[in-house]
């Protein structure tokens, strides 16, 4: 196990690479999830405003 994390002395290079990849790939999944929420909330708010004005 120790040996696995040690990566033959290249631990810093190997794990930094995999770490950055994980962060970038996860960020690309989270961004559209949040964007979808934002867009739908914006549209719902606008619809409510319109409904209030018409009543």
């Amino acid at each position: 196990m120790q040996e696995f994390f040690h990566m033959g002395g290249y631990a810093f290079y190997v794990w930094t690479s995999y770490g950055i990849a994980l962060v970038v790939l996860l960020a690309n999944i989270i961004a559209p999830l949040r964007q979808r929420r934002k867009v739908l909330d914006g549209i719902a708010r606008a619809a409510k405003r319109r409904a209030r004005r018409n009543s």
């Binding site: 696995f4 990566m7 033959g8 002395g9 290249y10 290079y13 190997v14 930094t16 690479s17 995999y18 950055i20 990849a21 970038v24 790939l25 960020a27 690309n28 999944i29 961004a31 559209p32 999830l33 964007q35 979808r36 867009v39 739908l40 909330d41 914006g42 549209i43 719902a44 619809a47």
Partner: protein, 246 residues
Amino acid sequence: MFNNFFHRMASPKHFYGLAGKLIPWLAVPCLLLTLAGLYYGLVKAPPDYQQGDSYRIMFIHVPAAWMSMFIYVVMAGAGAIGLIWRIKLAEVVAISSAPIGASFTFLALVTGSIWGKPMWGTWWVWDARLTSELILLFLYLGVIALHSAIDDKRTAARAVAILALVGVINIPIIHYSVEWWNTLHQGPTVTKFDKPSIHMSMLIPLLLMAVAFKLYYAFVVLMRARCEVLERECNSGWVQELAVKE
């Protein structure tokens, strides 16, 4: 009838629903392949006889670099389809691809740099492969910036498509750069016509990761495209209903 079928398929509402159903079917296999790729790449594959364990960066670096070029071609192709046939969905796919392509280009550059430090003794050299990949990153960023600078979505899509198409010239330059110029970067070991000069134990995780990254692009581009469709169709009845419901 044939025309009608395509029209229905490309209708924003239908696309939104279909994409939503497809995403889990792409995301789950992507996750499984990634886990398998990581297991074979980090645990099973033996250390390289020259590079020791540092070569394991390859399982991220090479698939990311392949994706950076693949996504660019898809983006330019979708842009061209949008430009010629005025298909809105193609415009949506083109612009949704840009941030994902930029991410993979960034990953290819950064992991390459981190790999270069222990192997070449430097983080960066201005050689043909590295420079042309950096230009690819700037092309992606240019596409994103141009799209956000133009308010009208249709005009923006047209401008972006033209920029993307001009930039396609960079793709063969990246691919052949290691053959055309003397460079520090090693030549291809997989994508050549004779037998790949890489051992099976290393080729298998590499291909697993490559397929996983393809699936990743497929489901993330659908997620982004769905957002883009919602924004474009914000005044239509079905989006209004959806917004109130959720």
